[in-house]
């Protein structure tokens, strides 16, 4: 939105640019006319000489003297030339302002009046009366009047008259009143009419040209804009295809040039030439400016290429090709290239045309480039598919790098990736919500549970109940403790399975950790009647893990053994290093027959005996497995009859 661009300003601008252009062209044409046809001399520009003082006069008079000399040379022979007859009519027929008096070898030739021509004195007097004359007598050239100013060098052509002559004298006089209508008189008239305007005309032309440029810049900026909004407004003409406008412009310019050349061939008078020029400039400016502004608007609206027949045709062809299925499209392409190759081969070998060979070469180069390009695209797409299939679901191909079917392929692959990503995100979100729910619910359970535990404890402190009540209270206490364990395990397992915990990964010594754990469980195992056989390497086994979480894992496994192993059996705890992996295993003999498969045992809430009467939440193995996997380890349960084996492995790091 810019008030500079309102229609009033634009109209004025168009008008101003037209006037300026007309001035520039007309002045230029005038200059060309005047100087190009020797109607004026460049050397006079900037002076304020009168005609007889001007360089132009000097040029004119020397031309006249040359012609006169030619005439006088011819006159001796008196030939029957048309040209001679014209000259004789001009000089001797009294049409010229030039008078001569030539004395050669005693004979006088003159066009002065007879009484003046008879004697030398008479001729001199007549020449002086005319106002400006030239006198030559063998040795000296005397210039008098206006001729004196132009210098002898301009007039020496007449010396030819005296070649191989004994003696001679010559008077050439110019009638400065220009009483006859001859070439000099014409020149004087033109000079006096136009010369005073030349200087100003040039200045005006230069200023007009600058003005024209400024206005053109304004018009270029203003094209398509108005004061109401910021959009580009197109004119009806702008919707014509670019090529048509361009062709029209070309034809118009060629026509104009041809027309001008034709007109220029004729000898127009100055004023009519100027009027004609002005009219032509006006008309052609109107047309060219219209087309120019239309192009500017189109470029601004980014329609220059799109609103063109070529682009439209290419688009239509492309769309047509796109509609075909890939197989048919490939067939068409193959057919087209085949025909093209056949044609070029024919032309190159049968017709022996070099261009066909070159075209064949370029076609080959083009197809090779396309082949290579497609190989690159294939590679990128393969990479993208591989990334997505390996779990990088947010991997995105830049579809702009691809062309044709490959672009579509890339976009579809991105779509697959996005779909997967959304599914994963949705899943993660659901899992997190579940965890939050579990956490919140267990917090809510814990509060009343606290009261239950506290008051059960208070009941016990009251003491002196009968045996039954004491039994009941004991059951209450046990079950409330179990409930507490359950809620805590529940929170833990839900956090671990969703990966919602922070791990503090550090190099730890598995041997140390097993000893530490052994110390914690020493008495518990003794109570359960279990003998632990520990086989550990002497040197440290370093792994990268979160120590307290590994303790949780091992603690759960030991607890499991303490709970379910058969009394008076041996428990085997082993740590081995195989191929860069440290494998910890614990083996025990189950007290009861395990009815579940090994795989099911690490599921949540699963216990071997199915009865759920024993203590524990059934989450121990699930917690252990998930924690191990979170830290990058493996977790395996093996079941061979009643032999129950759990082994976990971690990659060993070098200390």
């Amino acid at each position: 939105m810019d008030s500079k661009f309102n229609n009033g300003f634009k109209t004025v601008a168009v008008f101003v640019q037209m006037v300026c252009l007309i001035i520039v062209i007309v002045v230029t044409a005038l200059m060309v006319n005047l100087f190009g046809r020797s109607r004026l001399s460049f050397r006079d520009i900037g002076s304020d000489y009168s005609f007889f003082h001007s360089y132009h006069f000097a040029e004119e008079i020397s031309g006249e003297i040359k012609t006169l000399t030619l005439f006088l040379q011819m006159k001796e022979l008196d030939p029957d030339y048309t040209k001679y007859k014209q000259y004789r009519l001009r000089y001797d027929g009294g049409e010229s302002n030039l008078y001569y008096w030539l004395l050669r070898d005693g004979a006088i030739v003159s066009n002065m009046p007879e009484e003046a021509a008879d004697t030398k004195e008479g001729a001199k007097a007549f020449a002086e009366k005319m106002g400006s004359y030239l006198y030559y007598n063998d040795e000296t050239v005397h210039l008098d009047g206006d001729l004196a100013r132009i210098g002898a060098a301009q007039t020496v052509d007449f010396l030819r008259l005296f070649q191989n002559r004994e003696e001679g004298e010559l008077y050439i006089a110019v009638d400065v009143s220009l009483s006859k209508k001859d070439a000099i008189a014409d020149a004087a008239e033109v000079y006096e009419t136009y010369f005073p305007w030349i200087g100003m005309g040039l200045i005006v032309a230069v200023l007009s040209f600058l003005c024209f440029l400024l206005v053109m810049i304004y018009l270029t900026l203003a094209a398509g804009r108005n004061e109401k909004d910021d959009r580009i407004h197109l004119h009806r003409i702008d919707y014509l295809p670019t090529e048509i406008l361009f062709l029209f412009l070309c034809f118009f310019i060629f026509g104009l040039i041809a027309f001008c050349v034709r007109l220029g061939g004729k000898d127009w008078g100055i004023s009519s030439a100027l009027i004609l020029t002005g009219t032509l400039v006006f008309l052609s400016d109107a047309v060219i400016l219209t087309l120019y502004l239309s192009f500017v608007r189109k470029i601004k609206a980014e329609q220059f290429m799109s609103c063109s027949l070529t682009v439209y045709t290419v688009h239509t062809l492309k769309a047509c090709m796109q509609r075909q299925d890939i197989a048919r499209r490939t067939k068409i392409q193959f057919g087209a290239y085949g025909l093209l190759v056949a044609f070029f081969v024919w032309e190159a070998f049968a017709g022996r045309h070099v261009w066909a060979a070159a075209a064949l070469f370029f076609l080959f180069a083009y197809l090779s480039a396309q082949f290579l390009q497609q190989a690159v695209w294939r590679k990128k797409i393969l990479e993208g598919v591989r990334q997505i299939s390996h779990g990088t679901v947010d991997y995105q191909l830049n579809s702009r790098e691809f062309g044709g079917d490959y672009r579509e392929l890339a976009e579809e692959i991105n779509g697959i990736g996005e779909g997967l990503m959304h599914a994963v995100e949705e899943n993660t979100k659901n899992e997190r919500l579940k965890t939050e729910l579990v956490t919140n619910v267990s917090h809510d359970i814990k509060t009343p549970l606290t009261s239950i535990i506290n008051y059960v404890s208070l009941i016990k402190m009251e003491g002196s109940w009968n045996e039954n009540v004491e039994n009941y209270v004991g059951i209450l206490e046990k079950k409330s403790q179990r409930l507490k364990q359950l809620t805590e395990d529940l929170v833990e397992v839900s956090q671990i399975t969703t990966g919602n915990i922070m791990l503090d990964m550090q190099p730890i010594n598995m041997v140390e950790l097993i000893y530490q754990t052994g110390g914690e469980f020493n008495e518990l195992f003794e109570e359960a009647g279990l003998t632990v056989i520990t086989r550990l390497p002497k040197e440290p086994v370093m792994v990268l893990a979160d120590g307290s979480r590994v303790w949780r894992v091992v603690q759960n496994l030991y607890n499991n053994v303490a709970k379910y192993a058969m009394r008076d059996t041996r428990v085997f705890v082993e740590l081995k290093v195989n191929d860069g992996y440290g494998e910890f295993s614990i083996k025990d003999i189950s007290a009861q027959e395990i009815q579940k498969s090994a795989k099911d045992l690490s599921g949540r809430f699963v216990r071997g005996d199915e009865s759920r009467q024993t203590e524990g939440s059934g989450l121990g193995l699930s917690i252990a497995e998930n924690l191990t996997k979170l830290m990058g380890g493996t977790f395996e349960i093996a079941l061979d009859g009643d032999l129950f084996t759990v082994s976990i492995t971690f990659p060993v790091i070098n200390p």
């Binding site: 267990s442 917090h443 809510d444 814990k446 509060t447 549970l449 606290t450 009261s451 239950i452 535990i453 506290n454 008051y455 404890s457 208070l458 409330s480 507490k484 805590e488 929170v491 956090q495 922070m502 550090q506 730890i508 010594n509 598995m510 140390e512 950790l513 000893y515 530490q516 754990t517 052994g518 110390g519 914690e520 020493n522 520990t534 002497k538 893990a545 120590g547 307290s548 590994v550 303790w551």
Partner: protein, 230 residues
């Protein structure tokens, strides 16, 4: 008689805690949200505060922060939130202890006792003898070969005593099982086994209120044992 402020929005829990504490001879004041606790603290002198985290009006964390602006009384946070991050947060903002619900009432009483003893003893710190080492309420006097926890003497076997002394002398330093073995038994730890770990557990059972959540002897799993500087 020490006065204890118990603050929890669950009235039954407050009541139960009150019963336990009164049996031990403490005077109990009740509050049911953080704002009320702050009011009471302004009006009365209180020796210890037990505060729940999730409460209406003003929660335990914010209340603790406000109290710490002007008072240094012992604060025990009582919370259903059992994650490590919650415990760390509670202890970082100025609580002296953190107990998760559901808690063992006897453990709570023990912790209250420990905190009050330390608080009332504050100022007359242990004699500056070079043979006395202290970490919080745990004091070991090497001249008398005596170990006390919150002024209560603890009986120890010579090996347990030596292990504890080693850790107390080097507070903050982590000792591996073989290091401990070598310095206590003065022998190479070739046939190292559970021995050290078992001793450590015995020490913990003697000096800790809840051996599963030790305050003094910390297990650095897979690396060793240490006693933190307090």
């Amino acid at each position: 008689m020490n006065r204890i402020l118990v603050c929890d929005d669950d009235r039954e829990i407050v009541e139960a805690i009150e019963i336990y504490l009164q049996q031990e001879g403490y005077e109990v004041i009740r509050a049911y949200d953080g704002a009320e606790a702050l009011d009471i603290l302004k009006k009365q002198a209180v020796d210890l505060l037990i505060i729940d985290v999730m409460m209406p009006k003003l929660d335990g964390i914010r209340a603790t922060l406000k109290i710490r602006e002007e008072s240094s009384i012992p604060i025990i946070i009582l919370s259903a939130k059992s994650e490590d991050s919650d415990k760390i947060l509670g202890l970082n903002i100025g609580a002296d202890d953190y107990l998760t619900k559901p808690f063992n009432p006897l453990e709570l009483v023990a912790r209250v006792k420990s905190q009050i003893r330390r608080y009332t003893k504050l100022g007359n710190a242990a004699e500056s003898s070079h043979a006395v080492y202290q970490a919080g309420g745990l004091v070991i006097n090497d001249d008398l070969k005596e170990v006390t926890v919150d002024d209560e003497p603890v009986k120890m076997t010579p090996i347990e005593y030596n292990i504890l002394l080693l850790l107390m002398k080097n507070q903050g330093k982590v000792f591996s099982i073989s290091q401990i073995y070598e310095s206590i038994w003065n022998a190479d730890a070739i046939g190292a086994d559970n021995t050290v770990a078992v001793h450590i557990r015995h020490i913990r059972e003697k000096i800790e209120i809840n051996p599963r959540e030790p305050r003094y002897i910390k297990v650095v799993w897979g690396i060793g044992y240490k006693i933190d500087k307090v």
